[in-house]
Symmetry: C2
Subunit: 406 residues, 2 copies
């Protein structure tokens, strides 16, 4: 009998605890597993032996249900990249010694790109050192949806649902006054525009907003942006713009940095203005109409109260499948979603070698962005639409959602 260890890593999402739940559920009913351990703060917590037994903490279905409606990582997280074990194997030796001490035979690591790098390094280390009794598998999570091999990643659907919903509400808010106005909404995504692109779903229920969508994948040109705005302002009073936080110019520099570096002050001006706030200032100066910028900030990744039921279901499923796979002796893989049909939406869980995933990035395909680079095509909308379907039942107490705490 071996024990199973599960950990969470990277930026929080609304779905990562559902994956944790899936792992626990599978491990609970598998007779090959004696104890289920969680570890606080990812691999960092393994190094400091912050392991906790999960069965006593999650002994009933109410706890598991609450866990699924709790955003962020119940086990805590870390942003730690292991060094190359060929150069420095100290951390690896420590991790393996802790895993052996707790009789861990199976380790499920839930996370994004960096976490899959850890899965790759640890599993290849075990293989090279002929450590055959510790199997390591990855389960995906990222609101950014930038993991390769999987059709999409848990966390993305809920973030997209929040973003699309919020854009419909912002659209209602922005259209009330009889005066020209520009509202710039900054969405997460340093390198990829999946989340920003999802704002287009707001138009599916009759809203005209967002009027313009600029994603990280397309070099951003301020002159063209101002022209696009003027064009939209000639059609309607209120223009709502979705932008990725990571907009870069033709030379590959973040646009807020590139422009502001020309005039710095001694108070960290560069830090003070994000991309949206910076563009707000440009619009105020160049167009002169009422203009406002806003950031969806961490709310877009932790708004569990409006999680996508599809997303939570799939997150749980992947946790379940990853646990099953690793218990069956597979190592160095990640559980992936394969979309077998779009209408009706159908998926399968498949497994991909981790080296095809770690340190790679999945961008929005160029053909899903309009030629002008200021909107997305219907292919993008068709792709995201199934992922935001359904609402989760939420337990409220005192008028606000109840969360699970370990």
């Amino acid at each position: 009998m071996k024990n199973l260890l599960v950990a969470q890593s990277g930026g929080p999402t609304a779905a990562i605890n559902a994956t944790l739940c899936g792992v626990i559920e599978k491990a609970m009913i598998n007779t090959a597993i004696e104890k289920i351990y969680g570890v606080r703060n990812g691999v960092l917590g393994i190094l400091s032996e912050k392991l906790i037994e999960l069965k006593p903490a999650l002994f009933n279905t109410t706890s598991l249900q609450l866990l699924c409606q709790t955003p962020s990582s119940a086990l805590g997280s870390c942003r730690m990249k292991l060094s190359d074990w060929k150069e420095n194997s100290l951390e690896y030796e420590k991790i393996i010694s802790v895993l052996k001490k707790y009789n861990i035979g199976y380790f499920v690591y839930i996370g994004g790109n960096d976490s899959m790098d850890t899965v790759e390094k640890l599993s290849s280390y075990c293989k090279a050192k002929n450590i055959t009794d510790i199997k390591i598998i990855g389960a995906p999570k990222t609101i950014d949806n930038d993991l390769c091999e999987t059709d999409h990643s848990p966390g993305f659907g809920s973030a997209a649902k929040y973003i699309a919903t919020t854009f419909t509400e912002i659209a209602c808010d922005c259209h009330v006054y009889a005066m020209p106005s520009v509202s710039i909404v900054e969405v997460m995504g340093r390198d990829t525009g999946w989340l920003t692109a999802s704002s287009a779903l707001a138009r599916c229920n009759g809203h005209v907003s967002p009027d313009l969508i600029y994603v990280s994948e397309i070099p951003f040109d301020i002159e063209q942006f101002l022209e696009d705005l003027q064009c939209k302002l000639s059609e309607r009073m209120a223009v709502v713009v979705a932008i990725s936080e990571g907009l870069k110019n033709q030379e590959g520099y973040y646009i807020a940095d590139a422009m502001q570096n020309q005039q710095t002050d001694d108070f960290g001006h560069k830090i003070l203005a994000g991309t949206g706030r910076f563009l707000e200032e440009i619009v105020r100066h160049e167009i002169g109409c009422k203009v406002r910028s806003m950031e969806l900030n961490v709310m877009q990744r932790c708004a569990s109260h409006i999680a996508s039921a599809c997303d939570i279901y799939e997150a749980r499923l992947l946790g379940n499948a990853a646990a099953d796979r690793v218990i069956n002796g597979f190592s160095g893989e990640m559980a992936c979603i394969k979309r077998t049909s779009n209408k009706p939406y159908q998926i399968e869980v498949v497994f991909s070698p981790i080296n095809k995933i770690a340190n790679r990035v999945k961008f929005v395909p160029r053909e899903w962005i309009t030629e002008q680079g200021n909107d997305v095509t219907h292919e993008l909308i068709d792709y995201v639409m199934p992922l935001v379907q359904g609402e989760m039942p939420v337990t409220y107490h005192n008028g606000i959602p109840v969360h699970f705490k370990l």
Copy 2:
């Protein structure tokens, strides 16, 4: 037979359309009313005769139901203050002529402070000019909850529910890493701290956040703020702070302005940094830990998908009561909520003379703020708690909420 006119004004809320719904419902079943008119963009729309008949647009209960789950003002809004009619009566004459042209006997104006100023001026003008066949009444709405005479205002409860919910989610998000961090969340409220104070409800379900709450009513001292932070950081890793956008220093200047005026650049630095962003910079400089600021921005006033059922119910009730009252011949009043009991929560609708409301501000009582000025007392929580109770059923299509459009 006379016609009834209804208009909306001021900043959007999640509940103002429920009040509109209440007005329409009452007018529809009253045989003294022939036509129900709405006007776009408040009094501004009366001046330009943008009246529309509402019965055809809202002919069924489905439309009214969707109207109640639609944020912002379905009729549009304006921010217009009438001049004193004793000095310039031109606008008044024009308004009255339009009302007479459309045979309006009853005018319900839904709005906040500025709108109640309009109700006061228009009704006193009518009285002075002996125009007895046009009755004008106000129905309250404001997320800021700063209207006098009424226990609270529709829109506030839903905003408070969104804020408390979002703080619980942000709390989950902020506590994942094993490193000291400060998160500063800026909440709306230039002059009053009702919304910021409502963040305290997040603690009612076991969260420790927000750790510190600073409202507009209390002069803000940066040194004390840094001391408070250091104290909290000595107790736990992640500290979450709620601040009002309108924090002012001892001299009454907005703190971001006061400090930044000392060093301006030619690019509008002052505009680039809001209160939260400004404090983020101070914390980064003075404490040096991981720090982040975020604004709840317009989302806090338009997040209908998580509206408070209590708020929406009361908003509708006040619209209903205001319409009833004005049809019964009363003028120059506002429909108010009187809390007759807190446990169990019970209210009555009463009416107050508009001159006791217009241009006055209701502040958070000093005794509901802790002596140190960095938190609120249980009296504040007891006051807000009933107002965030209950969730509204929301109609979704394409995975996102459906909104009503006129």
